[in-house]
């Protein structure tokens, strides 16, 4: 027989985890984020120019979906109404509000401090606001990347500042909807764009630029990276986007950088402007011909710079919106399910679980009660995981998610049944319940791992390939299955092993382990003879 200590230790660990989740719920308000159907969320209405063809709207929708999905798995609802895109998202209050000293601070999902307020309500509002701002920025901006040759720059001190040739092309937000300001129309023209301002009161700089030569659709893959001071070797440290180009993009980029390189220009390299949405993000001086890949330096090492860089990478990967969209309104939307249907679902779920619990008790006796505990532990840990996923990557629990969890609960119960039926098998072939538990568990574990691997495989593939609600489903399924294996190994195994050690619990009349695995009948018959 195995030593008792490791069994007890593993039970204690499981107990501690359960306590952690319960404390997290009640003391720190770490609860699952509820999806659109259960709790509502916000709706952003984005408007395209009049007469935008349907297929362009559809492409814009797909693009926005990709961007939203990169943000998390909150099951957005996106649809096209005439020339508008409606984007609905569940609560964006991702992260937590923590008390630090006498202030309430907003901590983002990845552990960064986003600012503090004196009142808790204000901090919560700030949390909602940061989520919302980021979202609108992420989905609403076109993210059209262009690389153009810099023909000249001026700032306010220049005497030419007010001359017509230096007037900014399409300066206002309203211009976005004009046909002559669309990217395709401006692509092969010389333009004047503003430079990005590092701070709001920094002096304005205007760039006169040649035609766009390399564009965002030539980017194969973009990635946000942080360059530390000792890695930077001369270039500015901070956040930047590294990008790889397609074959076409690589050729054009190489030709462009070669033309601007010092070798072609008498020893002094020319500036190359990196333009995103008609704003010059940076204008580095070309040092040499570059093939295949490049980078966009945004600078800064703080949380804001990190978010901006990551969002730019997301946008570049999703590609530019095929049309410029203007944000029309942001509204809150209510849950689509009335209170009643939710209550009905809960009651129905409870009735089903009660029936299940009674059957398990009737069939497996003491082992049935072990199963109750196992299921309860599983359920509590599952809620903990869902809450955690909500904080970490915006996972929002929808009604489908709840129902999926109920099915997973049934499947996790099967792990117990597989084990108990194994035990029965071994008892029937002549072992005593006491000696049978360990070999039976080994065999049952083998089966459970094989079967659960299939489910985890399904979850992983769907999570990686699919979009929107299918991804949310895959995440729940995968988590539920991993949790199943965890509870089986660290709760069920030690508990049943410990019960088997106690002859009192094993032989409890009508209720014990022996009755549960149908071994009592065998003992009775044996004593009769």
């Amino acid at each position: 027989m195995k030593p008792i200590r490791p069994l007890v230790v593993s039970l204690v660990v499981v107990g501690l985890l359960v306590v952690t989740v319960i404390v997290g719920w009640f003391a720190f308000d770490i609860k699952p984020v509820l999806g659109l159907d259960l709790e509502g969320g916000i709706q952003v209405v984005l408007q395209a120019p009049d007469g935008t063809p349907d297929d362009v709207m559809d492409r814009a929708l797909i693009n926005i979906r990709q961007r939203v999905d990169a943000l998390g798995v909150g099951e957005p609802s996106l649809s096209v109404v005439n020339n508008q895109v409606l984007v609905q998202l569940p609560s964006l209050a991702r992260g937590t509000v923590e008390k630090q000293g006498d202030q309430w601070c907003v901590i983002s999902g990845d552990g960064k401090n986003l600012g503090c307020e004196a009142k808790e309500e204000d901090a919560k509002a700030l949390l909602q606001q940061t989520g919302q701002d980021r979202l609108i920025e992420l989905i609403g901006t076109t993210a059209r990347l262009e690389q153009r040759e810099v023909l000249g720059t001026i700032d306010e001190s220049s005497p030419d500042w007010d001359k017509k040739e230096w007037a900014v092309t399409c300066p206002d937000a309203a211009d976005k909807l004009k046909p002559e300001c669309q990217f395709d129309a401006l692509g092969d023209q010389e333009v004047v764009f503003l430079g990005a301002q590092p701070t709001p009161d920094a002096p304005e700089v205007r760039y006169k630029l040649g035609p766009a030569e390399v564009t965002g659709d030539m980017i194969k893959k973009a990635q946000a990276v942080l360059l530390t001071a000792d890695q930077s070797s001369g270039s500015t440290p901070g956040w930047r986007v590294n990008f790889e180009l397609t074959a076409e993009g690589s050729d054009k980029f190489a030709a462009l950088t070669e033309r601007l390189s010092p070798q072609q220009n008498g020893g002094v390299g020319k500036e190359l402007a990196i333009v995103v949405d008609q704003k010059v993000i940076s204008a580095p001086t070309v040092q040499d011909k570059i093939v295949g890949s490049g980078e966009i330096t945004l600078g800064g090492t703080d949380a804001v710079a990190e978010r901006e860089t990551k969002d730019l990478a997301t946008q570049l990967n999703a590609g530019a919106l095929p049309v410029q969209l203007e944000q029309q309104s942001i509204e809150t939307v209510s849950a689509t399910l009335g209170r009643e249907s939710l209550d009905q679902g809960l009651i129905a779920g409870l009735v089903g679980l009660l029936a299940l619990a009674l059957y398990l008790l009737f069939y497996y006796r003491l082992l049935g009660i072990v199963t109750w505990f196992g299921m309860a532990i599983w359920a509590i840990l599952a809620i903990g995981m869902v809450s955690f996923a909500g904080v970490l990557f915006g996972y929002a629990l929808t009604l489908a998610g709840v129902a999926g969890l109920i099915v997973s609960l049934g499947i996790t119960t099967d792990s117990y049944i597989v084990f108990y039926e194994r035990l029965k098998d071994d008892v029937r072939s002549g072992k005593t319940p006491r000696t049978a538990v360990q070999p039976s568990f080994r065999k049952a574990w083998h089966t459970i791992v094989a079967a659960d691997t299939v489910t985890i495989l399904a979850a992983a593939v769907l999570y990686l390939v699919a979009v929107s609600s299918v991804r949310g489903f895959a995440l729940t399924l995968g988590m539920a299955t991993l949790l199943d294996m965890f509870v089986v190994y660290f709760f069920k195994r030690p508990t049943v092993f410990l019960i088997a050690r106690s002859s009192k619990l094993t032989n409890l009349p009508g209720m014990g382990l022996s009755t549960g695995v149908a071994a009592d009948h065998l003992i009775d018959e044996g004593s009769e003879r």
Binding site: G40, Q43, D58, I62, S77, L78, S79, V80, V81, N82, E331, T332, V333, A335, T336, L337, S341, Q344, G345, A348, G349, G352, A355, Y363, L399, A400, A403, I406, V407, L409, G410, I411, T413, D414, I417, V418, E421, K424, K443, H446, T447, A450, A451, D452, T453, V454, L457, A458, A459, L462, V465, V467, S468, S469, V470, F473, H521, E525, G526, R529
Partner: protein, 385 residues
């Protein structure tokens, strides 16, 4: 009395059932085949009803003067057969309804609109109606399908690697059986397919494979013993494995179906829809693991030369036994002999009665009281050991 006792003994697990599932596999193939054919026929002749999430429809928006609740609006819509409409309160002041195209309502369109207007305390012409595109676009479906194909390839490889490729084929056959049945039932009943249905279908997919793998694991364990296979034939061992895992299958399906059944009976509209797909799929999944996946596996395996040779040998032996010149059994374990006979009898009859199916019928009730006595005896003997 004795058969009730027998049933209870099997249910409690005092004895292993002796159901002849594999020997009667042709019957199960026909049953499944007919079901699948009906479903396919229905799918080809009748289009699935897709919900507004796939098709798009109408978006109604109007001010909420009276402060009506989501549930009340849904109630009104349900009266006109639009219980599946999505109702939201926007910014606390407007009602927004997404529903399938209102032109389908014909004459009832106007009364619906005026009832909604009355409920919200406004004039009918304040209801703004526009067309809305699908929220579950083609992209979501195609991505999900892409994921599915990759998953099926990977899972086939996994089963082939972990078990064997014939089991992978059998599991896939069972899986497609379940998917066709579930979609077929939607087509037959004319129920609306919603995103929840698609999610349910994916759940079924996982469950069906899971359930099959549990049974195959037992089959693999039992067939690993060459002496057992030599004695019982591959089909016999699979049948034995099915009987050994039968109570697991019964209990698991009960445990999974109970909460789903409860949702189906008492849950609201949305949940009922979800529970319906799950119920059909899980029931089909449990059935197919036992009655489709395992029989297909046997059919595939029995084609292998070594098992075919084994079957020929056993047939010859059985024929010799039937002729009355039974071989001396003295040195054989009584238990083994019983089991051999149980499987052998079936083989013998199947071989002898290949032209007429009558004698076969008699043998199908594995639980029949005639054979029960012998089996009971052998079970007791085993217990005494």
């Amino acid at each position: 009395m004795s058969s009730a006792r027998h049933f209870i003994d099997v249910f409690r697990g005092y004895r292993v059932p002796h159901l002849a599932i594999i020997p009667n596999r042709r019957r199960w193939f026909i049953t499944s085949g007919v079901l699948v054919a009906i479903c396919l026929l229905s799918l080809f002749t009748k289009e699935l009803t897709l919900s507004l999430e796939f098709e798009g429809g109408a978006l109604l928006k109007y001010p909420n003067q009276s402060g009506v609740a989501v549930g009340d609006v849904q109630g009104t819509l349900a009266k006109y057969g639009r219980g599946d409409a999505e109702v939201q309160i926007v910014d606390g002041t407007d009602v927004s309804i997404r529903t399938s195209s209102l032109t389908d309502l014909g004459d009832r369109r106007t009364p619906l609109l005026s009832e909604l207007a009355q409920q919200a305390g406004i004039q009918t012409d304040e209801i703004n109606t526009t067309d809305v595109g699908p929220t579950w676009g083609k992209q979501i479906s195609s991505k999900a399908l892409q994921g599915l194909v990759i998953f099926l390839v990977l899972v086939s490889l996994y089963i082939a690697f972990r078990f064997e490729w014939k089991m992978a084929i059998a599991a896939m056959v069972a899986l497609f059986h379940d998917i066709i049945i579930t979609i077929g039932v939607y087509s037959l009943t004319g129920r609306e397919v919603t995103p929840a249905t698609v999610i349910a279908l994916l759940t079924i997919l996982g469950y069906s494979l899971y359930d099959t793998v549990v049974i195959f694991d037992k089959v693999q364990e039992n067939t690993a013993s060459t002496s057992l296979v030599a004695r019982e034939s591959y089909a016999g061992v699979v049948n034995m494995s099915l009987n050994q895992t039968l109570m697991r299958s019964v209990n698991t399906s009960l445990v999974v179906l109970l909460p789903i059944l409860s949702l189906l009976l008492f849950g609201g509209d949305t949940l009922k829809n979800f529970a319906f797909a799950l119920f059909v799929g899980v029931a089909s999944g449990t059935f197919s693991s036992v009655f489709v996946a395992a029989p297909v596996l046997v059919t595939l395996k029995e084609r292998e030369p070594k098992y075919r040779a084994l079957r020929e040998r056993r047939k010859a032996k059985a024929a010799a036994e039937k002729a009355g010149k039974a071989p001396a059994r003295g040195e054989m374990d009584e238990d083994v002999a019983r089991e051999l006979e149980a499987a052998g009898v079936i083989k013998r009859q199947a071989a002898a009665a290949s032209s007429s199916s009558e004698p076969k019928e008699k043998q199908q009730g594995g639980r029949g009281s005639g054979g029960s006595k012998n089996k009971k005896k052998s079970a007791k003997q085993r217990r005494r050991r």
